[in-house]
């Protein structure tokens, strides 16, 4: 059986909650994100729209959907990745789904945290 590929991409302390960094995993450029709850997530560092490097964007929150016109309820600070170009919002904690259209999502990688090290596997 083929052995799973596993590569360390950073140390746990390299990222605080709400931060991200670029890294490489095999031949892929990836963006490693640490969500508000401290968990790590990794995505291909290439926006599914026009290919911008997501790691040059921003981790932030987003106004949650509402039934009330005029209501801005800004939530989830640290869990939303916004692209540096057109600003599309991707949910780090929900497989990188786009907030405006959940059918579209970023390509994601499995993350394992062991002994203070953050690794990606395939």
């Amino acid at each position: 059986m083929k052995e799973a590929v596993k590569e360390i991409v950073c140390q746990e302390e390299d990222l605080q909650p709400g931060e991200m960094m670029s890294a490489t995993f095999g031949r892929h450029d990836v963006v490693v994100c640490r969500a508000s709850d401290g968990h790590y997530y990794a995505f291909l560092d290439r926006c599914i729209h026009q290919g911008a490097e997501l790691s040059k964007g921003k981790i932030c929150g987003a106004p949650e959907p509402t039934d009330e016109l005029g209501e801005y309820n800004f939530q989830r600070e640290g869990d939303i990745l916004r692209c540096p170009w057109h600003g599309r919002e991707f949910d780090i904690k929900n497989n990188g789904c786009m907030l405006a259209n959940e059918k579209l999502k970023l390509r994601n990688f499995k993350v394992v945290v062991e002994d203070g090290q953050v690794a990606l596997t395939k």
């Binding site: 026009q50 290919g51 911008a52 490097e53 040059k56 964007g57 916004r82 540096p84 057109h86 600003g87």
Partner: protein, 360 residues
């Protein structure tokens, strides 16, 4: 990112690049008293909209800020690295950042005229003379056509000035009052480039939300196209062409059809218009692609077919703004190579007389 080689092979001509000046850079090009209105009296460009572009870094691509912290578009070296070199541009046409935007000012046209001259000199010095790929736009204070013509006479014959820039705000430029500007354009082989600034396109006002305004920007472009055609601008200035910048092109089939139908009914009101508006549009306009809607190849081709021409659309990035389009990602996949060549290069080259001269 991008495919430098492919773009280089196609001879990429980018018809909308926004270089940006910091006001202090204009000072050496301004005489007194104009200079002191910036240094002592803190003049700033008037702005009207209640919102900013709500992307990650306001109006700009978040990755286009100059590494030393200066705003996007202010540094030639960084623009070369991030755009011109990395994407393999053959030519880029500079369109300014509408700040200053002399032709947008609602008064003090003397200051506007001084700012336009200073901006042109700065643009020539710092950009056009520094990178052979870059071509420029003549900035004027069009509210004072006599002063504007003087400025066109002063810098319009520069071999790298390809067009006169008219912003789209609340003035319709087809009125006879502005025709001296078009006459001067023809004289110097310059085309006109129209780019929206802050058009109050919701019944003279701005809507509640940026998303509404931004969706309907093409309406402000349609206003200008309709106005120029029905004011007989092209019958009077047969060599003049207009590049409609950053309004996209998907509205054009609608507008052509609507104008033709209206012309059949109402020709008597505008007897100086002597051919079908759609024909005039095909002969005298070109439309930049950005911001491109996501389309399939089939949808894209249907729009071109309805325009009756593959020659009046030309690619633009809008670098370094947030709604930038990538030359390798924004167009639908698998367009024929010949069409790609037209969109990315030939159409713009055929549009600007000074670029044709360059090739020859």
């Amino acid at each position: 990112m991008g495919n430098t080689k492919e773009n280089a092979n196609l001879g990429l001509i980018d018809t909308d690049i926004h270089e940006r000046v910091m006001y202090e850079e204009l000072l050496p090009y301004l005489d007194q008293p104009w200079r002191r209105y910036i240094t002592d009296a803190h003049w700033i460009q008037e702005k009207h909209m209640p919102y900013t572009q709500p992307a990650v870094a306001g109006v700009d691509r978040a990755d286009a800020r100059v590494p030393d912290g200066r705003p996007a578009g202010t540094d030639l070296g960084f623009m070369q690295e991030q755009l011109l070199d990395s994407l393999g541009h053959e030519i880029g046409v500079l369109t300014g950042a509408l700040d200053p935007s002399p032709s947008s000012m609602h008064g003090w046209y003397e200051m506007a005229t001084a700012l336009a001259s200073a901006y042109n000199d700065w643009q020539i010095d710092k950009w056009l003379d520094k990178d052979e790929r870059l071509y420029g736009s003549v900035h004027i204070a069009a509210q004072d056509p006599a002063a504007a013509v003087k400025e066109i006479e002063r810098v319009g014959s520069h071999p790298k000035m390809v067009q006169i820039l008219l912003p789209i705000d609340d003035i319709l430029w087809g009125d006879a009052y502005y025709h001296p500007i078009f006459e001067a354009a023809e004289k110097h082989d310059l085309m006109v480039g129209m780019h929206h600034n802050e058009p109050p396109l919701h019944y003279g006002k701005w809507p509640k939300y940026f998303i509404e305004w931004h969706t309907l920007i093409p309406v402000s472009h349609m206003n200008q196209v309709t106005n120029l055609v029905f004011n007989g601008v092209f019958e009077k200035f047969p060599k003049l062409k207009v590049m409609m910048i950053e309004g996209g092109f998907t509205y054009v089939p609608f507008l052509m059809r609507k104008m033709d139908q209206q012309y059949k009914d109402l020709r008597h009101e505008v007897p100086w218009v002597n051919q079908m508006p759609s024909k005039t549009i095909r002969e005298h306009f070109c439309f930049t692609t950005q911001p491109l809607e996501e389309m399939t190849k089939k949808e894209f081709m249907q729009i071109l077919e309805q325009m009756g021409s593959e020659e009046i659309v030309s690619f633009s990035t809008d670098y370094p703004h947030w709604d930038y389009d990538s030359p390798t990602e924004a167009l639908p996949p698998k367009l024929d190579e010949e069409l790609m060549r037209k969109l990315l290069s030939e159409n713009a080259r055929n549009f600007y007389p000074k670029l044709q001269k360059k090739e020859g």
